[in-house]
């Protein structure tokens, strides 16, 4: 009798905990649903052809679009990625393949430190190192700041994936008499390709959503420009400016900017996956 009661209590407790876990899960994901839902509904309502084909209008005038910010985002983010890729992948390979290299321990610690560093500090440093000496804000400076954000993420992701590649592949390659560099380039990196791409996408998404480091690097520009040595507009920056403004039409466009920014990130990751999957 007593044992039975005890057992029933244990079962109840089990069910109660399941309920609590369920509530926790729902809470954890609730805000995501709300944010994405509002962004989708308000964003779609605000999207039109002008948004992609026209530049922004002066405040208080309705209409216009954010062509200049969309183009700017693609250029600044793409350039940032190009700057970050070689450094990040090289550093990741070093950490995974040369554990005894004297640079390995400090690079690992510093990559983690950089990764945990607030993005705004990276913008601050780029302002001092690039904007001031160049005498102008520029899309390039913004790209460096974003690259700064991507490098440590790519490094650690690459390292993580490379260590998962089976030892046997390395041994087989070396047994064939291939030098170490050839094993890394032709066997290990291709084997880890999918994982590396995932890491790169993650890094790209993190950086593409940042506005803080662009405030004083890429700066913004109401006109379309494709010259990375000129100040450039980006969607996160414009979204921030529009969101805090009092103009209803800018609020509308802020939602659209949010949606397009998110779509660009998703698109870039789909493209990267497709490009690396199809050819090999």
């Amino acid at each position: 009798m007593n044992r039975d009661l005890n057992l029933r209590r244990r079962y109840w407790r089990d069910r109660l905990m399941l309920l609590l876990l369920g509530i926790g899960t729902v809470l954890a994901l609730l805000v995501l649903f709300l944010v994405m839902g509002y962004a989708l509904v308000n964003g779609v309502a605000a999207l039109n052809w002008d948004f992609f084909t026209k530049d922004m209008k002066p405040p208080g005038e309705t209409g216009g679009g954010l062509r200049q910010a969309i183009v700017g985002t693609i250029i600044v983010d793409g350039l940032g990625l190009l700057l970050a890729l070689p450094i990040g992948i090289a550093a990741g390979s070093l950490l995974a393949e040369y554990p005894d290299h004297p640079l390995t321990p400090p690079i690992r610690t510093l990559a983690d430190t950089l990764n945990g560093m607030p993005a705004i500090l990276k913008g601050l440093v780029v302002f001092v190192l690039i904007v001031k000496p160049m005498g102008t804000f520029s899309g390039f400076a913004g790209a460096v700041a974003l690259g700064f954000i991507m490098v440590p993420i790519i490094t650690r992701a690459t390292e993580g994936v490379l260590t998962l590649v089976p030892k046997e592949i390395r041994e087989a390659g070396l047994a064939l008499g291939l030098p170490r560099w050839r094993v890394i380039l032709s066997l290990i990196l291709p084997a880890a390709r999918a994982g590396i791409v995932t890491g790169v996408i993650l890094a790209f998404a993190r950086a593409a959503g940042e506005a803080a480091p662009l405030l004083f690097t890429s700066f913004g520009n109401p006109f379309l420009t494709t010259d990375p040595l000129k100040p450039m507009d980006t969607l996160p920056l414009r979204l921030f400016q529009f969101a805090i403004s009092p103009y209803a039409d800018w609020h509308r466009q802020a939602w659209a900017a949010g949606l397009v920014l998110f779509a660009l990130i998703v698109l870039a990751s789909a493209l990267a996956r497709w490009a690396t999957r199809r050819r090999l």
């Binding site: 405040p59 793409g78 890729l85 032709s186 109401p222 379309l224 805090i244 490009a275 690396t276």
Partner: protein, 375 residues
């Protein structure tokens, strides 16, 4: 044979990139080039200038530069980061021109002179504006009246609710609710702030003692909004709030704004005539002047000129890379002082009085590039 060739193709520079990633990189680059060329279609390789600063005249400047681009093809990128920012970036020489409603202090002019290796700073007035108290009180549509003491009291935090006796006494006909007052000020360095606290410093000894005047001050109470846009945004969103912005931000967004008592005891709601009256002052040689707390009986007490900041020796500004840049800048300012003025009143900014315009023109004529006059 093919084997050998392949080995040769692995170049040193490519080494750290795996084959797959090389392709990814190539795809991304191709994508970049395609978008760039697509974008090129809408781009003429025109002159461009960068300016930054005051948010106070931003709607006007955006209009100017939009029209100017249509007219001449010269693209002027103006970012409204606040007057403090305008002065700072001007001194840092990251912009072709700065913009501020607060004239630079002697200290700042000295900094600019040191940074540029000896160039003087020119303050070119471009327009007149008014800073107005805006508020969002549910159920109150009347124009509220404020005097110096209540404004100072609210912004010092001694007047805490909308039904405070001091406010009720000034506005007996408005039904003021017992709502707490949310003060909204600027979170960035601002010329609008400067004009606002310059006024409060002149009229309230308590304010002068506790807070003082500057482009960014230590606010005793309130929330911060970034730029005139940010302050108007917060006030519009927040019942029970009060803030201060350039009049156009209140008008464009249909936010109520109050009448302020001037030196001769009249309550004035800012409009073009009352701003123009306030500007009826003797202009000093360098055009740096404060026109708050005007003695004119019909003048609005919180008005200001807004300025564009230039280096007299344009070549000393690192952001100006060529004589063509300097010439384009000089032409732009000339246009603003003359043809551009016709856009002022459409956006409720005052046109420059003849005296101020003439002063602006004579200051502009001092601008040189490598010793060569630009006009």
């Amino acid at each position: 044979m093919t084997q050998t060739k392949n080995y040769g193709a692995v170049k040193a520079a490519r080494i750290p990139v795996s084959l797959g990633l090389m392709r990814l990189e190539k795809t991304m680059r191709k994508l970049l080039v395609t978008t760039a060329t697509m974008a090129m279609a809408g781009l003429s390789l025109a002159q461009s200038l960068t300016g930054a600063g005051a948010t106070f005249p931003y709607p006007l400047y955006a209009k100017y530069f939009d029209e100017y681009a249509k007219l001449t093809g010269v693209k002027v990128n103006y970012q409204s980061i606040g007057s403090g920012g305008g002065i700072r970036q001007f001194i840092e020489q990251t912009v072709s021109f700065g913009a501020s409603d607060a004239p630079m202090t002697d200290e700042q002019i000295k900094d600019a002179r040191t940074a540029s290796g000896g160039s003087n700073v020119l303050h070119i007035p471009t327009a007149l504006g008014a800073v107005v108290p805006i508020y969002n009180i549910p159920g109150v549509s009347a124009v509220l009246k404020f005097d110096a003491n209540t404004l100072a009291g609210i912004f010092l935090g001694t007047i805490k609710t909308w039904n405070d006796p001091a406010l009720v006494k000034l506005n007996p006909e408005a039904k003021l609710p017992p709502l707490p007052i949310t003060v909204v000020h600027r979170s960035d360095g601002s010329g609008t702030t400067f004009v606002w606290v310059d006024y409060l410093t002149k009229v309230s000894p308590e304010w002068a003692r506790q807070v003082g005047r500057g482009t960014s001050v230590a606010w005793p109470v309130g929330l911060g909004g970034k730029g005139n846009e940010g302050v108007a945004g917060v006030v519009k969103q927040t019942p029970g709030s009060i803030g201060y912005v350039e009049a156009i931000y209140a008008r464009q967004n249909k936010i109520s704004y109050g009448a302020v008592q001037n030196k001769s005891g009249k309550f004035i709601q800012a409009d073009l005539p009352s701003i123009r009256l306030a500007a009826n002052v003797v202009l000093p040689g360098d055009a740096r002047v404060s026109i708050t707390d005007t003695p004119e009986p019909g003048g609005y007490p919180i008005a200001s000129f807004t300025y564009i900041l230039l280096y007299q020796q344009a070549d000393k500004n690192k952001a100006i890379k060529s004589e063509a840049d300097a010439r384009a800048l000089s032409d732009l300012i000339y246009w603003i002082l003359n043809d551009g003025q016709k856009y002022n009143e459409g956006l409720e900014y005052g046109r420059l009085p003849e005296v101020a315009k003439a002063r602006g023109m004579s200051l502009l004529s001092k601008m040189t590039y490598n010793g060569k006059a630009l006009r």
